[in-house]
Structures are given as C-alpha cells and as structure tokens.
C-alpha cells in the first residue's frame, strides 16, 4: 500500500493513463470468459475422440485381435467359441449392412428429394414456401425412434405380407431411413436451389430455354455442390442412425444375403450389445471398436462435406 502511494505521488497522471480502465478490464473478462467456453467445446471434442479411440483400439492391442481379420472377417460370434475354441470377431457383415442401408436409402431418397425441392423452389414457390417448407422442417425434427416405431408397425408387417419371411431386414431398414432422410435432404436441397441467384433463371429463360432446360442445364448444375452436400449430410445421418434401424433390421450378425433376410448394422449391434456385456471383457472391447469405426466414418463424411463445400459453381455477377 505504502509503495503504491509513493508511486502515485510520483506521477499521478502517468499512473492514471497506464492503469487499465474498468471498461477494459471488463472487456478482458468477457473475452476470456467467451474464449474459455469455446475452448471447453474443443476439449469435449478432443476427449470424445481420445476416449473412444483409446477404448476402441484395446481390442487390437490388449486382446490381440488382428485388425485385418476384424474388418474383413465374416463371422461374428463373440460369445460361443467355434470348433477350434476361438471366438470369432468379424465385423464385415455389420460394415456391409451399414453401407447397404446408407447407400440404398440415399440412392432412393435423392431423386425424390431433388424433385420435391424443385417443386418447392422452381415450380410452386408460393405453395412451397407457405405450406411445404414448415412441414418439411417439422419432419426433420421428428425423433428417430418414432420413425423406427412406424417401421416396426407399418413397414415390417407390409413387407411380411407382400414378400413373406419375417419382414425384418435390409429392405425394411432402407425404407425407414429413406423416409427419415428425405426431409433432411429436401430441406438442404431447397437451400441450395435458393442460393442460385435469380439472374441465372432470367438469363436462361431470356434466351428461349424451356423451364425444364432452365432447371436441367442451369439451376441443377449451379446448385450441384449444394445438392451433393445435402446428400452426404443425409448419408451421414443414415449411417449414424441407431435406434430406428435397430428396430427394423433384424439384428442377425450375418452377411446379408438378400434384402429381406435379417441383417445388422454397426449401430444396431452396438446399441444391442453394450448393455449386455461387462466393461473390460473382449466382447465389450470389440463393441468399442465398432464405435470407433462409426467415429471414423463420421469424420470421413465430414471431410467430404468440407471438400464439396469449398467448390461452387455460382459466380456472383463478375462485373
């Protein structure tokens, strides 16, 4: 205290100029508070990767499972040993299952979504904006268990009646995922189409293009990166979807040999198994490896979206 007084008495003006104002202190406080919130999110993401990866690699490091055999092995038999007394951990059936439902549902949903988006933006934009848009947004928000439940009570019995068999399987999963990602892809495609500036449309029509020519030759091409992003988003959602798929896919961990046979996906085996295995057992470790595969795939989808996002076919009037 005495020292400060002495200093003050030496040069009060210099002191008051050099001292931080309350306002500046508050500024520092606010800045560091908000920065620490941001850093917290970074730490969360980092620790999710760290924990899941370290847990997922245990099956390879601690239990000595051959990673190559794990990914390409076709027999999944984690509890009962085979004739040689070995447990079989081949995740290929689940990997194939996951990719099949994802690709098939995206393949079916994309044309539907693009047509609906074109209808909403290019053909009936009033109707699209006022009625379709809120409905699509509402459907994007429907919880995935509800899709699963509808799959279980409507889709599966329908398949059973028409094709025989149990009704559970890749086809049921594909149909549920198709309905689930349809609103997602549609809504993002609508955004992509709206991003195409109006003078593109005017130019095309002014040189005598028909509406279809305008859509096909101009609008769709200009919006391609955006539409691709929408599709990849839908695929990422389908790939990571757990409960809706788990409820209808049948959950038999065998190679899918038909769209109507019971099959399984990474997420379905994961949700089913994690509660039934004890922490630290081989059976549990391999489930974490499946989770790691999911994590890596989601990172991969993210990279694709980034890669597409950087491209654009739209030039904002270069004059």
């Amino acid at each position: 205290m005495a020292r400060r007084n002495k200093k003050n008495s030496q040069d009060p003006i210099k002191e008051s100029l050099l001292r931080k104002s309350i306002s500046a202190k508050k500024d520092m406080f606010g800045r560091s508070l908000s920065l620490s919130a941001l850093i917290l999110i970074g730490v969360v993401v980092f620790s999710i990767f760290f924990f899941v990866l370290s847990r997922g690699l245990m099956a390879f490091t601690l239990d000595g499972i051959n990673p190559f055999k794990f990914i390409f092995g076709t027999v999944w038999n984690p509890t009962t040993p085979d004739s040689n007394g070995n447990l079989q951990f081949g995740a290929f059936p689940m990997i194939v299952g996951s990719f099949l439902v994802t690709l098939l549902s995206a393949l079916v949903a994309t044309p539907f979504a693009i047509a609906t988006a074109l209808f909403m933006v290019e053909l009936q934009s009033n109707w699209g904006k006022k009625i379709m848009h809120p409905v699509v947004e509402l459907l994007v928000g429907i919880p995935s268990v509800v899709y699963g439940f509808i799959g279980l009570t409507v889709v599966v019995p329908l398949l059973r009646k028409t094709f025989g068999g149990s009704g559970f399987g890749i086809l049921a999963g594909t149909i549920v995922l198709f309905v689930m990602i349809l609103p997602t892809i549609t809504s993002l495609t609508v955004d992509a189409l709206r991003n195409v500036p109006n003078h593109y449309r005017e130019l095309a029509l002014a040189i005598g293009a028909t509406r279809w020519q305008m859509i096909y030759k101009v609008i769709l091409r200009a919006a391609t990166p955006g539409i691709l992003t929408a599709v990849v988003f839908g695929m990422a959602r389908a790939f990571g979807e757990a409960l809706a798929v788990q409820m209808v896919v049948g959950n038999a961990p065998i190679m899918p040999n038909g769209l109507l046979e019971s099959a399984s996906t990474l997420t379905s085996i994961l949700t089913q198994g994690i509660g039934n295995t004890s922490d630290g057992s081989v059976q549990n470790d391999v489930l974490w490896t499946l989770a790691t595969l999911l994590l890596i795939m989601s990172l991969f989808f993210n990279l694709i979206i980034r890669f597409i996002g950087k491209r654009t076919n739209i030039t904002q009037g270069g004059h």
């Binding site: 917290l40 053909l123 947004e137 509800v146 009570t153 279809w212 990571g240």
Partner: protein, 298 residues
C-alpha cells in the same frame, strides 16, 4: 424429341414425384397421429408406467424428458452463448486457431448420437461413478446440443448489422460492452427461436440417453420435492428414462402386453410436443421481436 414435349414430360415427372413425396409424408404424419392419438388420454398422461400389465401411462417419462431438457439447457446455454459470442464478436476470422475450433464444432455436430452416448457412458457413468442418472444424461445431451446451439446463436449474432457494432464503439463502449448492451439484446429474439428449435430436437433424442440416463424410471413421488430423496422428481442422481427411450425399450423388450398401444400413444405425444416446440419457436421469437423493437413483427 421436341423440346416442348420434353419440357412437358419432365415437369410432369417432377409434379408426380412431388405428389408422391407429399403423400408419403402425409401418410407418415397421419399414421403416427392416427395410431397414437386414440390411446392418449388424461389417464395415460398422468399415470405411472407398468412393465407387465396393460394400462400403464407415461407420466414419469414425460416429466423426465422435460427435466433432462431443462438441466441440459442450463448446462449448455452459457457454454454455447460464450463460444458463439467469441466466434462472432472477438475472433479473427482468418485465424487458424479459430478454424480448428470451428471444425471441432462441425465434427461434434456430425457425430452419431450413439457415439456421443457411449462416450457419456464411459466417462460419466463408469469412470466418474455417476451411474445412470439425470446428470449423466443431461451432460450427454449437452454434447449433442452444443453444436446446434452454438451455430444458431452465432447466426443470430451475425445477422445484426455491423452498423450497430460501429455505433457502440463510436460511443466509447468497449467491445464487450457493445456485445453485452447492444448486440446481444438485439439478437435475443432470434436466439430464443434457435434455442426452442434445438429444444425440440433434444426432446426426442434417444440414442445418446440409452446408456447415460438409463432405461428405467423409478416411480416418482409427486409430493416429495426434496432433491436429495431418491424418488423425488428433482433428484439429479436417479435414473431417468425419457419418452423417446421408453418407445424404444417397450418395443425391444416386449414384456408389456399393450406395448404397441403405449408406444403409439407416446409417439403421438412426442410428435405433438415437437410440433408445439416448432410453433412456439416462431411465436416467442416474433413476440420478443415486437416487444423489443415496438415494431409490428418480421
């Protein structure tokens, strides 16, 4: 082929497919509500669930859904608000450091919710010995919620014109004071809209909660509001099965004789809730906007 004919055919196909999609989506909504609403009664909403007899309700699950939502919002809102403010107001847009955090948020938003749930299970339920509890579930929901909220708040802040910031700085306010007193209040209506929309998404989340808040709902005692009692609704350390988890569990376990009716009713309640969240998001946003700007709405 004549271009005009091609045009007619193509446009016709677009109309046809769109009609098909509208049909599918309408059928979806109708089948959810049509199957479920007949089972929704006052009794269904206010009675406890029963595992082995028919006639159980969803009161505990419904309460748990709301409770988890509120707890997770209390945790995630300040964090999301802080990071959004830093990203939009303080951060240098060209900085590599910030780009890393931006991509971290993007990655978090695209993670499958089951992986987020498993992480919560590993860290909170097992490592921190919190067990299947409201708190573990709320934290897992927070991870799921943070990227959604951060992005929507950041967009709300970015929509405030730069003139406002310049005006604040020209008055001699510091950056933080400008943000706190000028930018944030102006962004509140659209922030509220974003928060309520995110709440609707979180309300129906199940995969992240299966292994964090658990799949069992102890019967709550509605007269005991002491948060330390194990059957009190407010207890943070009790397991809490939510409505969405309930639908999944009832269908996959199959011990309940009226499983289909219960899950149909629960699905309808979920959809109606999501619907209410969506509508009220618009309503509250508009109301606040009118109140704060004394304007006539957007």
């Amino acid at each position: 082929m004549n271009t005009k004919v091609t045009n007619k055919i193509a446009i016709g196909i677009i109309y046809f497919i769109s009609a098909l999609v509208i049909l599918i989506l309408a059928a979806l909504l109708i089948s959810i509500l049509g199957q479920g609403l007949p089972h929704v009664s006052w009794h269904f909403l206010i009675s406890h669930s029963s595992s082995f007899e028919s006639g159980g309700g969803i009161s505990d699950q419904l309460f748990n859904s709301f409770y988890l939502l509120i707890v997770s919002m209390i945790i995630s809102l300040p964090i999301a608000l802080g990071s959004a403010i830093y990203l939009n107001e303080f951060a240098d847009p060209k900085s590599e450091f910030i780009a890393v955090f931006r991509s971290a948020i993007e990655v978090l938003s695209s993670l499958p919710s089951v992986v987020v749930g498993l992480f919560g299970f590993l860290l909170f339920v097992l490592k921190f010995h919190m067990g299947f509890s409201v708190l573990s579930g709320a934290i897992a929901l927070t991870f799921f919620n943070l990227p959604l909220l951060t992005r929507s708040i950041e967009n709300s802040l970015a929509a405030i014109p730069n003139l406002q910031r310049e005006a604040g700085l020209a008055l001699g306010l510091s950056k933080w004071e400008t943000t706190e007193k000028v930018i944030f209040p102006a962004a509140v209506p659209s922030i509220v809209t974003g928060v309520v929309l995110a709440a609707g998404r979180v309300f129906g989340e199940a995969a992240a909660l299966l292994f964090t808040s658990g799949q069992s709902a102890p019967q709550l005692n509605w007269y005991n509001w002491n948060p330390l009692n194990s059957n009190s609704p407010l207890n943070l350390m009790r397991p809490a099965e939510t409505l969405a988890v309930h639908i999944w569990k009832v269908n996959s376990e199959g011990t309940m004789p009226d499983a289909v009716e219960v899950s149909a009713g629960s699905s309808a309640v979920l959809i109606v809730m999501v619907f209410i969240f969506n509508l009220s998001a618009r309503f509250f946003g508009n109301m606040l906007y009118k109140k704060m700007t004394s304007g006539t709405g957007k």
